[in-house]
């Protein structure tokens, strides 16, 4: 089974992808409207909370953080696999990434934007958020650079802006294609502006190659540092269940894991909605599924390591939190998380399911649910059963306001993502051409070699 048909005509690649930008099908509008409705629910909840105060989220002492922080980590985590596909696999010359990396990178950008919302929603005084920005002022008041939250803000800003630039630079040749082929209305102006006069000259390509490679090299350590810093929010604190040395790699593995699962989901949706069967082939799906399986096992290992280090340590308080997770209020969710995170991915080990679209859709959704639960199970149980017994609170439950905002964030993400896919090519045209070109060259070489071989044999 080949990743892509090698004899696919380049002109056809252009028309196929450009078709996805043209007048939307009914299904597209259905998705957009339902996404906006869901987002509207989140906005309504946030407005209510903004006016009333955070008490309506049913947060309390000691449960000062809740679903907002858990979902924030979830979205940050989701963003990591875009970088995995576009940067790491780019450096490793894995060319099967080419038809699918563009949407993965868009996913990176939009999930970071969604995560950013949660930082805001979480604040008690949202209207003063700029106090955390290091801007010069006459009183020389600066934020506290010691705080992991500030590292977070800095890391997310760096990651978001670098991802947008990376996405944009990688899209310039495709925007030129759009400019050359779409001649109507605001789109033409937009593409003309954004393609910067790209004509594919040798000078442009030469600098493009080096720049793309350089930014890819920067993005890999950046992605690792971003989730390590998110892990530091917890690992740098003193609380039982958070103060764990292995948190940064554990978080990074979890991030790649949930991101890959999300890629599978979106892969299947895009393949169906935009009819990209020719490019998002089952062979590529198979590779992504195998990659996800490998990462799932890494995550499982790190997860078990975390339990083991707590279990065999003499840290009684952390141990109590772990026992609380497994047997207390959160037990159903904790076991569910372990089941979804470590057992469900085993399905991916079977060849017959790797290309089975309905099964993979369900599995990828389950994996993402597991990873969301994982983040919740990191944040909340520590509050319910911390150092100070008098403040133990096992009964706190997030109110509908929290659930509404979490729910709404999925609408916001879907909305941004679908709009992106309608305005910008979600399959990289020039890179698919490169892939087709190099693969056909390689197979021609093989044929020639084969003929020589057989010729020799005939002698």
């Amino acid at each position: 089974m080949k990743d892509i048909r090698e004899d696919i005509a380049w002109a056809k690649i252009n028309t196929d992808v450009l078709k996805s930008l043209e007048s939307p099908r009914k299904l597209f509008w259905v998705i957009i409207i339902s996404a906006l409705t869901v987002f509207g629910i989140g906005v309504a909840c946030e407005l209510y909370q903004y006016n009333m105060g955070l008490g309506v989220a049913n947060l309390d002492n000691p449960h000062v953080w809740g679903l907002y922080i858990a979902t924030f980590i979830f979205w940050i985590g989701m963003s990591h696999s875009g970088t995995l596909l576009s940067a790491i696999l780019h450096l490793m010359h894995a060319d099967w990434r080419k038809p699918i990396y563009r949407f993965a990178e868009a996913m990176t950008t939009f999930s970071l934007m969604t995560a950013g919302l949660f930082v805001m929603v979480h604040l008690g005084r949202l209207w003063q958020f700029y106090y955390a920005v290091p801007y010069p002022n006459e009183r020389w008041i600066w934020p506290n650079f010691q705080s992991p939250l500030l590292w977070d803000a800095m890391a997310i800003f760096t990651y978001l802006s670098s991802s947008i630039l990376f996405l944009y630079v990688g899209m310039i040749p495709d925007l030129a294609i759009c400019r050359d082929n779409i001649h109507t209305g605001w789109r033409k102006k937009l593409y003309t502006l954004l393609s910067l006069g790209w004509e594919g000259t040798d000078r442009q390509w030469r600098n493009f190659r080096v720049t793309y490679l350089t930014i890819a090299c920067f993005l890999i350590p950046l992605a690792v540092s971003v989730h390590s810093i998110v892990a530091s929010d917890f690992a740098m604190s003193q609380q039982p269940g958070w103060h764990v040395t292995s948190f940064p790699p554990y978080f990074v593995a979890g991030a790649l894991y949930s991101g890959c699962a999300a890629i599978i989901t979106l892969f299947i949706i895009l393949r169906y909605v935009f009819k990209f069967e020719e490019y998002m082939t089952l062979a590529i799906l198979k590779k992504v599924v195998r990659l996800t399986f490998a990462i799932a096992m890494v995550w499982t290992y790190l997860n078990l390591i975390e339990y083991a280090t707590v279990w065999y340590s003499h840290d009684e308080v952390s141990k109590a939190v772990l026992i609380q997770k497994a047997t207390g209020t959160y037990a159903p969710f904790w076991w569910m998380m372990n089941f979804c995170g470590s057992i469900v991915p085993l399905i991916m080990a079977f060849k017959r399911f790797q290309t089975n679209i309905p099964v993979m859709m369900v599995v990828s959704l389950l994996l993402n649910m597991g990873m969301w639960l994982e983040r919740w199970m990191i944040v909340s149980p520590t509050f319910s059963h911390g150092y100070y017994p008098w403040t133990w609170d096992h009964d706190q439950w997030p109110s509908w306001v929290q659930w509404g905002v979490v729910f709404g964030s999925f609408g916001w993400f879907t909305f941004l993502f679908m709009v992106f896919c309608k305005i910008f090519p979600s399959v990289s045209m020039y890179e698919v051409k490169e892939m087709v070109y190099h693969r056909s060259l390689a197979s021609k070489k093989l044929e020639v070699a084969g003929m020589q071989e057989s010729g020799k044999g005939a002698h």
Binding site: W10, P134, T158, E199, G200, N207, I215
Partner: protein, 176 residues
């Protein structure tokens, strides 16, 4: 002396390659293959760089400068502001603590590197660019274009070379 632009379109990459090689080896009056020859392609062909001769790329120097500036700026901005922000002691740590400052220095190192690399890319690649005198949208689809600038009288010689290598189409325009 009046100049003339020619754009030849090739559907076969190897023919285009042969045409470029011939142009580089020939000596035509008023045409310097290093300056007046531009190859336009729909994808990034590593071979193009080989047969066009060694043309250096300077983007990485922008990257280096940007990253170092970003890192240094971060460290001194952060340490300086800690020293001046009412000299506040927090959590029993020194006023200028190294571990957090290094984390932020690292982030700014990357931020500076990425931003300035993009700037370097725009400068080195000459973007945003005005449209060149001759362009065919076929180039963004599946064909290779060779754009040359030459003296009026040599245009015929160049056209001959292009036709010899089976150019699909030759556009021309009088330049300045």
């Amino acid at each position: 002396m009046s100049k003339r632009h020619l754009l030849a379109i090739f559907s076969n990459f190897h023919e285009a390659e042969a045409a470029v090689k011939e142009l580089r080896n020939s000596s035509i009056k008023g045409f310097d293959a290093n300056q007046d020859l531009i190859v336009k392609s729909p994808i990034e062909h590593p071979e193009v760089e080989e047969f066009l001769g060694n043309k250096p790329v300077y983007v990485q120097w922008f990257t280096l400068c940007g990253a170092l500036t970003g890192g240094l700026l971060a460290f001194f901005l952060i340490s300086g502001s800690q020293a001046n922000f009412f000299d506040q002691v927090k959590g029993g740590k020194p006023v200028v603590p190294f571990p957090p400052n290094f984390v932020l220095t690292y982030e700014m190192f990357i931020l500076g590197g990425v931003y300035i690399s993009i700037l370097g890319f725009l400068i080195c690649a000459g973007l945003p660019a005005r449209r060149s005198p001759l362009y065919s949208s076929k180039v963004s689809e599946d064909q290779i274009g060779i754009l040359v600038k030459t003296d009026e009288e040599s245009a015929g010689v160049l056209k001959g070379i292009f036709t010899k290598h089976e150019a699909l189409e030759i556009q021309e325009e009088a330049g300045k």
